[in-house]
Each structure stands twice: as structure tokens, then as C-alpha cells.
Symmetry: C2
Subunit: 162 residues, 2 copies
């Protein structure tokens, strides 16, 4: 996939899988419990042919799995794999940004809570293990083990303390 | 923007701003220090006409600001606004997902640290204020103050404990 690329980046690689509006909305819907084609179609408002393409691609990438419905073998159900469920952090951080910067006038359309405690989620922030919050101001970028030669020229190798 | 929509969603609203591969890669590059058109062009590998469109849209959405370079007034510099810098959490969570699920064989291409302490960032997880991690299994979804009528039918209103 990256054989000819000068740069290897996990943001770009992730966006190859879900970096397109409909794909991430399909993941959002699956996290909210949608399983059937018609549920995704009605709730996202995406054209049926595009939805069919995106569902197939997400199954191909191992984000969704497709299984026959126990009630009716002819109806497939789409559910998240562990890889797909792990996109929750990305979906939540995107949702929280929208709450802060786009829907700040009307209030959050959706409130996410933890089921047992009914406590709301707090804003997700990048942090170190000691709990220091990292912003654009104190972010430092290093070439990691998977960096290409071009990337190692641009970014000093990491000298992180564990 | 949402006058005729039955559903209001901060994921969808955010994706209207950055929900497209190139836009989020431009934000990534800006977080990594790129400021000039040619820097974005060389480092992202996007066609010049598409880059020009996306930069203009991100300025229009208030994610980037465009100012003349102090060295050469004819060269514009693109830098993140506070709204744009606040996308760091989304970019980092997407990067970490790619590290875990796509580049797990080669290792992380990029390692992010906090500048002062040189400590690496820990994986971002949605949590409650008591530090309980929320996954797809214990996530609960409620209609918030900005929910539309259709959303309030689908999701019970929130009864969160602060």
C-alpha cells in the first residue's frame, strides 16, 4: 500500500479506511445500534448505491462484519468488529469538537453517558501518562519505528521517556 | 444549515467541515508546522487546485487563518485558529487508531510527545469524570438539549449525573 510513498502516516492510512463523510457516519450509526441496510439508509440519508458501496468497503477493511439475520437469513446484518468498535474514540472526539464549535448555540444534540453510572463523558484530550494535557502549543513530533527515510529527515527520532 | 434536517448530529456537522480526506490531512500538516501553500502541497501530495479549494474552505470555516508572510507580503501563510488547533484530539485519536490497526506491523510512523517532559501520549479513550473507560459495550446514547424532535423520539432524554 505504501511501497511507493515517501511518507507513512497513520492519519492518512486511517482516512483511507474511514476518511470520507459517509463511512464515518456509517460507523457512528453502527455504534448507535443500526444493523440493517434500511436502518443505515433511513438514518444517514445516503443514497442506496453509495451506502451499498461503503458498507462493502467497510466489510472489506474489517471494520464491519456482515452476517445473516437470525430471524430472516435473507436479510444481512452489519455489526462492528473489534477494529470497528475501536473507532469510538475517533467518533467521540469528532462529536465533541462539533458540540464545542458548531452546535455551541443550540447545545449538544446527543449526550453520551456510561451505562452503569449514567455519567456523561468528559472532553477527550491528548495526555501523557502523568496526565499532562497536550495541545498544539506543547506538541512535539518525532519519527517513530515505522517512519520512512524521508520522515526521519524531517522529524528527529523519538527519545521518549516511558 | 440544518433547517430541513430531521436529525442534528455533531459528527455529521464536523464532517461537513473536515470530513474529507484532504481537509483533515491539511489540518494534520498545519499541526506539524506547515504554513505555506508549497509546504502543504509537497507534504500531502494533493493536486494544487484541490489544495487551493480546501484551504479556502478551511479559512471560510474558521479552522485556518490566512495572513501575509512577514518576510514576503505576497506569500500567504496558513495557520490554525483556536478552533483549528482544537482538532488535535480528533487527529490524535485517528492517528492512534491507524497505529493500532494498520501500522501494527511496522510500528508507529510518528510518535507524539509532550515537549517539556518528552513523555509519549497515551491512547485516548472516552471516559467519565470518575475515569471509567467507555467502549461500544457500555455506551449509552441520549437526546441532548440540541436534539431535534425526531431524535427525541429515538433516544431517551439524558438523565446524566454530573
Amino acid at each position: 500500500m505504501y511501497a511507493r510513498q515517501r511518507v507513512r502516516c497513520s492519519v492518512a492510512a486511517t482516512l483511507e479506511v474511514v476518511g470520507e463523510r459517509w463511512s464515518l457516519l456509517i460507523v457512528r450509526e453502527a455504534l448507535m445500534g443500526s444493523k440493517r441496510f434500511d436502518e443505515f439508509h433511513d438514518r444517514i440519508g445516503v443514497a442506496r448505491n453509495i451506502l451499498a458501496q461503503r458498507l462493502k468497503a467497510l466489510v472489506g477493511h474489517g471494520v464491519l462484519k456482515r452476517q445473516p439475520s437470525p430471524e430472516n437469513k435473507r436479510i444481512p446484518l452489519y455489526t462492528l468488529t473489534p477494529k470497528g468498535e475501536d473507532l469510538l474514540a475517533s467518533v467521540v472526539s469528532i462529536l465533541q469538537w462539533g458540540d464545542r464549535w458548531i452546535h455551541d448555540d443550540v447545545g449538544a444534540p446527543i449526550v453520551l453517558t456510561e451505562r452503569e453510572s449514567s455519567q456523561a463523558l468528559v472532553p477527550m484530550r491528548p495526555t501523557t501518562k502523568d496526565g499532562v494535557t497536550v495541545t498544539a502549543k506543547n506538541l512535539s513530533i518525532h519519527a517513530g519505528p515505522g517512519a520512512t527515510a524521508v520522515m526521519r529527515q524531517r522529524f528527529a527520532p523519538t527519545a521518549t521517556r516511558k
